[in-house]
Amino acid sequence: MRPIGFSTGALAYGDFRKGLAILRGKHTTTRELSALRETELAPLVAALDSLDLSGYTYISVHAPSKFRVEDEPAIVGLLGVVASRGWPIVLHPDAIRNAAGWRSFGPLLLIENMDKRNISGRTVRELSEIFAELPQAGLCFDVGHCRQVDPTMNEAHLILRAFGDRLRQLHISEVNSRSTHDPLSSAAIDAFRAVASLVPENIPVILESPVREEDVGREVEQARLALPVLPTGSWARARSADLHSAIA
């Protein structure tokens, strides 16, 4: 069974404590603590020792997506506390100004593929450029972003085949035409099923759907429909060839 959980930011905008409280007792084993806005990071880091995070098999932290260039070293410094716990750090590639600082996180840094508003980090080619700068970084594959960029899901397929060995986490939600997150629709579920075979069963799945507390369980079930577990080995076979190079 896939480990599926939520981003605290999806459930309680800007309030990680409330997000965690909503999830308590919901039988989800993965969490992403969101500090998407710069002002959220320091309080989150300061609170880490006081949070009851027992029972979770996977915890990651989403780094701020926008900050001033002069604040980058301080942000990297604060995230060092997260990394010292061995927790992965999810980062939007367009937030990076100086790759050297981020490189120090090694494989704990997860680069997230972007939505159509961005001009980088959306495709295999654009992600290749980023991974060239951050050779040890992993991938947090946002399947909703990728569907928005290419609704045929071909790019999703190519990204998962090209960077399958970097895949550490999945983001899932419906991303609408205004580039905001929505609960999963049947069209999104159908689209995501097309690449489910390329996602190993043990990869943590983080929902970014903004849902009410009473709808958390239903949304997890929707995510399971979108990402059925396929026979072992099918993803490994699919990953064996780097199709992108063959096409290029």
Partner: protein
């Protein structure tokens, strides 16, 4: 196989046969200048949901004097009343820059919505205009400004043609040619030829000479290169791409191959095939030298004007139209040699997919 994947296939071909196709070079240079002018003129008008797409001679890199700009605002996103204002602004800026507006068919110079292009492939609602826009988007289109909507729409179109093609995905044929796409390209060409006669009747012969010249050369070129694009799936793809289709019934890699392949201009597609299949020099010269003469003729204001105003009764004796006739006959001989005589594999594919 000769490697034409790197560099400019037309220049490589030209060097191989020891000729210089001046009119083609000139048209490409002028296309490049026009592209720069257009990029500047249309700056800031496109968005990730609405791309400015041009077709015709500009997209084919065959810009000659008096070429017009066939364009559309291709919308792939939320409905927005502002799109009309953007389309009007595109028309206005092109006029200010002195570009000739699109012809009077109504197919260009307005808004196009991706939904019709993607959802209505075949069936009663796939109108003549819709088929034209879709097939030309595949065969000769280029976006200015933000390309996102153009790229997404093309991906969708190829996805529909190939994923819905059960014969391609599951069939036992030894060849892997996208037959549904191929049939649409053939259908479009036949429609163009029949519509030519309709226009001849509807416009009382006005503009017949120029339209006929284009039909014999540039329209026929994109029909031929449309077929070649389909055949490229069998002839010019890597074993990994074909294996993906044969073993996993997945068309994803083939769709990507096609989308990238059609980014070449029709003349580049033709040159790529001539190089890769090591086609006879005689055929190469027939095809490219005749096309070069055709572009030179279009670039001659006097001759172009003569063709445009040629009365139907003077066709048999008119020297300019006689020139068109001679050029197009050589071009036709070149195409016949390429598709039926010079390469066994191409002949087999042409008979199998193009005839029966």
């Amino acid at each position: 196989m000769a490697d034409s994947s790197q560099g400019d296939p037309i220049l490589t071909l030209q060097a191989q046969v020891g000729e210089e196709w001046k009119a083609i070079r000139h048209a490409r240079e002028r296309t490049s200048e026009t592209n720069t002018k257009l990029e500047r003129a249309l700056d800031g008008l496109s968005s990730t949901d609405a791309a400015i797409v041009v077709f015709g001679s500009l997209a084919r890199s065959e810009w000659t004097q008096s070429s017009d700009v066939d364009w559309t605002l291709l919308i792939d996103g939320q409905a927005d009343p502002e799109h009309l204002r953007v389309a009007q602004e595109v028309a206005s800026r092109l006029e200010v820059e002195g570009f000739t507006p699109p012809g009077r068919t109504g197919i260009f110079g307005n808004m196009t919505f991706s939904h019709d292009l993607v959802q209505k492939i075949g069936g009663r609602e796939d109108t003549n205009e819709n088929t034209t826009r879709r097939v030309l988007l595949i065969q000769e289109s280029k976006s200015f400004g933000k390309p996102d909507a153009h790229t997404r729409t093309l991906k969708h179109i190829f996805s529909r043609y190939l994923k819905d093609d059960r014969g391609l995905r599951y069939g036992s044929l030894p060849f892997k040619v996208p037959r549904v796409l191929m049939n649409d390209i053939v259908r479009y060409w036949r429609t163009v030829t029949v519509d030519f006669v309709d226009k001849q009747r509807g416009r009382a012969g006005q503009g017949w000479g120029l339209r006929n010249a284009k039909l014999r050369m540039s329209r026929k070129l994109i029909f031929a290169t449309g077929m070649l694009s389909c055949f490229s799936c069998e002839v010019l793809t890597s074993p990994e791409i074909r294996e993906d289709l044969l073993k996993d019934h997945s068309t994803i890699a083939m769709e990507e191959h096609l989308r990238r392949f059609v980014q070449k201009t029709p003349l580049e597609i033709l040159a790529t095939f001539l190089l890769e299949l090591r086609i006879k020099q005689e055929t190469v010269v027939k095809l490219f030298a005749s096309y070069d003469k055709f572009l030179a003729l279009l670039d001659d204001a006097e001759k172009r004007d003569r063709l445009n105003k040629l009365p139907l009764e003077e066709i048999p004796t008119d020297p300019v139209f006689g020139e068109v006739r001679n050029i197009s006959r050589v071009f036709q001989e070149g195409l016949t040699a390429l598709f039926f005589h010079d390469d066994d594999r191409l002949r087999e594919l042409t008979i199998f997919y193009g005839v029966f």
